[in-house]
Amino acid sequence: MKEPLLTVHDMEVSYGAVQVLFGVSLEVRAGEIVCIIGPNGAGKSTVIKAVIGLVPAQKGQVEFDGQPITNSPAHEIPALGITYVPQGRIVFAQMTVADNLEMGAFLKRDSHKRREAVQAVFDQFPRLYERRNQPAGKLSGGEQQMLAIGRALMMNPRLVILDEPSLGLSPKYVDLIYEKLLDLKRQGRTLLMVEQNAARALELSDRGYALELGHNRFADTGAKLLANEDVRRMYLGGA
């Protein structure tokens, strides 16, 4: 079995006095799609934010590609080859589509390289090219999600972490987004994602983790989790 690309070991996180993660562990191997599922408030976003340095972990280790990266500052994460698509498809609404993408490649100092990377994303998302000079705030929800994903591809990352990529999108765009995620996998990228749309996400995932109130509850292949009675009852809304 391949070495894990990302390992989270025994992570604990508190917001002020309120602890929300109580020793969560998971791993993601190169080339996999791994999904974290769980009800509202289970701590899914928090796990991700602690991995990428947006919230501090009080305890536990994070390793990427064999290197410890626990509590690295968030702005150093993209250079390692990890990028992030935030929950709620946050784009820089007043900036143009092209400038949003350019910010995804902020760490490339050479403007020529930034332009090349923008062009590569336009090739994958022709719709973004059509709207390149519009403020991102004018895009539809689905287009904004495309933009947030495109922005996360600008550094040619090995691992893309996505928080609820299909939340609140029309069915047409949900299909499109999932299509794109499979494309990314085919390009050899590794994906870690959080989804409430658990059934759909597990179908696509190699493996999944179910969280409950800040604890690991289930961990298995996507197919086995889908088949598991308890998982179906607790996470997939019924039998």
């Binding site: 947006l54 820089f92 900036m95 910010m103």
Partner: protein
Amino acid sequence: MELLEPEILLQMLINGLLAGALYALLAGGLNLIFGVMRVINIAHAEFMLIGAFGAYVLFNVFGLHPLFSLLIIVPIIFVVGYYFQRVLIERVVDRPMLTSLLATYGVSIILINVGLLIFSSDFKSVPVLQGSFLIGDLAVSKPRAVAGLVSLVLSVGVYLFLDRTRLGKAVRAVSEHAQVAQICGIDVRQIRMLTFGMAAAMAGAAGVMLSIIYSFWPGSGVDFIQKCFAIIIIGGMGNFVGALYGGILLGVVESFVGGFISTQWAEAVAYLLLVTVLLVRPTGLKGVARA
């Protein structure tokens, strides 16, 4: 009514635009800070006065023309602002806004008192330019023209920096969403220092330009900061371009009110304009409703 002669109206308009450009430069810096870190820098006009007194000292000690002083003062105030952010503002930036208001208010009082200690409460000025440029029937005061045009060029320069360059776009990204900017690889703390440095430098430059058109004393900041507050609300809180429009609008309206009614009224103009704009557009000219 000879006031309605086209030359006189044009004259008032030009004077207003020139004064407005200086307001725009000053308020643009204040709004930049607010946009990036949601901090209102009460000491902003004192940074302006550092520039003005700097020009005064350089002129009286070394005989340096303020246009040359600009080249010395602007970089120095940039560095001062950069470290001021790091040492003071960075500590209060994530606290409730009252904390940073009080902190910068304290700094403003300290700077005023240091100024009084060094320069006393006498009015100073740097009378390097006299007379007017004559363009047809129009006479445009030389110091006003120079101050206005330099302010305009600097404001446009900052605008182009924000609009076109990688770092400038990063400043805008941080002002829209600091966390997401951070995860794009932007070091938010550094952007905040850059922002404060730039804003202080803009204020300092405005001060140098002020020194050739007005007389000033260490307490002169109050009038200006009040106008700046009005301008950034008129233009839209946190919107740099909005502050430029707001500043120019205020300059022009003040000029017309001063010409038609009285210069005493011009003082109240900022507030009348503020109320009018807010009635029509609660978010300001270029404001965006924010969550």
